[in-house]
């Protein structure tokens, strides 16, 4: 096939997945968070309110597109796109199945985290351009939070890379299919990764950037209509990307234990999406039940607890893993025969 045509098809597919994911997460958010809060959620339009999204989209599309006086107009227009695009690109690195990945490159993890790390830039641009003090406070908080969580996020990935021996996400998935899910040997890393993912997606208890009790709506206070819609679509897509990354790194990606990856076929993306939404469900339950961090407490947790812990844990893990490899090859093959697939 023509390489250009292939690229366009991939981008279109990612857009479709992204939109479908956005609508699914909105519905799930309303119902899951509603159940966690003793509420019902939408119920009027369609069975169990599944068509609630349609009027929501109509509302977003038809609302007045205004921008505040004295705002930095071009930056204000550009900011939602800066938030949206990196997440769109990050989608391209997620392996949905065997060779079902838009960009199967050897630097998969690095590229993915690099693109996700661009999002706070857009958040800051939005807050800065809005010419609103609440937005500005939210924007500055997002920068302060970014440098707190990016480092432990990266460090928590290292044990996975050590075990898989590759930065390529597809190979990490296959490595898990050949041995065990990496969440078992690297559980502390998985927990740190999930906490950082929660921060990365600006969800409670780490929603300081949009803390509605304090900052009205934080960096997005002045946004309305489809620009607001883009910010939210990016947030939900970010949710999926981070959850998908967690699944890929720690929960075996699109494979199932005991099933030959080569025979998964069309089942692979289904398995992947189900696992991803299970992680998103976990995010939502945390989101619905805890008090918000204060930004200085977050920095304290990041710099004083998470970074030293992940550093020490990564070193300990690396040494332990090497020792395991050297002295217990027989145990390794035993584990493989118990947990691993036939691949």
């Amino acid at each position: 096939m023509n390489a250009w045509l292939q690229a366009v098809l991939w981008v279109l597919m990612i857009l479709v997945v992204m939109l479908a994911n956005g609508s699914l997460i909105i519905y799930m958010l309303r119902k899951v968070l509603g159940a966690a809060h003793l509420r019902i959620g939408p119920q009027e339009l369609g069975p169990a309110g599944i068509f609630q999204l349609i009027p929501d989209i109509i509302k977003l599309l038809t609302k007045e597109d205004r921008h505040p006086n004295n705002s930095d107009r071009w930056l204000y227009i550009l900011a939602p796109i800066i938030i949206f695009l990196p997440v769109l690109v990050a989608f391209g690195f997620l392996p949905f199945g065997y060779r079902m990945v838009a960009a199967d490159i050897n630097m998969g993890i690095m590229m993915m985290i690099a693109f996700i790390a661009l999002v706070p830039l857009g958040v800051f641009a939005a807050g800065w351009a809005s010419h609103n003090k609440y937005s500005l406070i939210g924007a500055i908080r997002s920068i302060a939070a970014t440098i707190t969580y990016e480092i432990p996020l990266l460090l928590s990935v290292i044990p996975v890379v050590i075990m898989a021996g590759s930065l390529n996400l597809s190979e990490i998935v296959l490595a898990q299919a050949n041995s065990i899910w990496f969440v078992i040997p690297a559980l502390p890393s998985a927990i740190i990764f999930l906490i950082c993912a929660q921060m990365e997606t600006n969800q409670a208890p780490f929603d300081m950037t949009e803390a509605e009790g304090e900052l009205v709506a934080g960096f997005s206070t002045e946004y309305s209509a489809m620009r607001f819609g883009f910010i939210f679509l990016a947030e939900f897509a970010g949710n999926f990307v981070l959850a998908g990354l967690a699944v890929t790194l720690f929960l075996g990606g699109w494979t199932l234990p005991g099933v030959d990856p080569a025979t998964m076929g069309i089942l692979a993306p289904v398995v992947f999406v189900i696992k991803t939404y299970a992680v998103i469900f976990l995010f939502m339950m945390v989101r619905g039940n805890f008090s918000r961090f204060r930004i200085d407490r977050l920095a304290q947790m990041g710099w004083k607890r998470m970074i030293p812990f992940t550093l020490v844990w990564t070193i300990v893990f690396a040494i332990g893993y090497r020792a395991f490899q050297l002295w217990q090859p027989s145990l390794g093959s035993l584990l493989t025969s118990v947990f691993g697939g036939g691949g």
Partner: protein, 400 residues
Amino acid sequence: MGLTDGYINPGWLSPEPPFGITVPRNINRIADDPLQLCTDHYLLNVGPQHPSTHGALRVIMELDGERIMSGEAHIGQLHRGIEKLAEHRRYHQLATLVDRADYVSGITAETAVALATEQLADIEVPERAQWLRCLMAEVNRIASHYMWMGPMGLDSGAMGIFLYMQRDREAFIDVLEEMTGQRLMFNYVRPGGVRGDLTPRAEQLLRDYLKTGVKRMQEHWDSLFESELFQVRTKDIGVLTREQALSYGATGFVLRASGVDWDLRRDRPYDAYDQFDFDVMTRSNGDIFDRMVCRLDEVRQSLRIIEQCLDGMPEGPISAKLPKVLRVPEGDACGIVESARGEVGIHIYSDGSDKPLRMRYRPPTLYSLAMAESLLPGMLLADAIVGMGSFDFCFGEVDR
């Protein structure tokens, strides 16, 4: 978290901060040092449309980054001239006005009006009416406490607890609706007695809650108060010392959270409160967490009073026989009750006609507002929202 754990404790007011920590007021204004980043303070207008000012409060804060340098509360957005309107209402009609002053716990304010009028006109209230007043006041107190604790969760970012509290409040609001026909503006307590008797359904609703209430309160305790994230946001923050509380005229739970053992229901009992067995809950730190725990404990005590009310309610009439148009002798009288937010005092001057010459409403939260304002300097913005919320302002009452 101790006070010295890397943080400036924002709660202090005294010129000598504890543990030798100093808050440099102009930390960013050292312009002589070229390496020092020079930043400016800025003003932030919080409210009256801000999502968490609990009504129509406007606070103008001078901020240095997120640290508040000074704060100024502007009130009056909800002023309806209730005290002036009272001069054109008959004594029976005053309850409808004070309902709209403290719209979250109306029964207690109504009781204060009734007490003042009864003192002026020298009316004997039947025993059953007194017990019904106590019962309804406690029901309303719990509803009001839940209405405050839930939004405190919202202020600190925990959205779930708000709706759990609303569920529990709903049980008590249902009782109030059953007894008075209203969910908010009860107009239930009147000079000489109360308007309606205890209905079987209301009693059933209350007995049902008494069975499940302890378990539900344990749920609240586990999900909000036990949460470390919440404790970090509330402990050692917004500290009001015993001396400050007394000098600012704090009453009610604010005073008790600061360690003063004072409750009108026990120390100057009105209605039937001298016949109930209950404890006055006090805490010692005076921070946000203590104010919350103090009120959760109060809910437990209120449940005890409700149980005693239901078990020992005396028979008899629910209202004294009074003329349709009540004329009271010349003079003045003051009715003071322990409201959910503190002491509500209503002072009525009478010139002998059927309408008061002057009514003065003493709102407890107006004084709390002064305390909250004095605590603002040195706090972080995020703490200030929780801190101001912890005083439970009701702006219908503050502005009147």
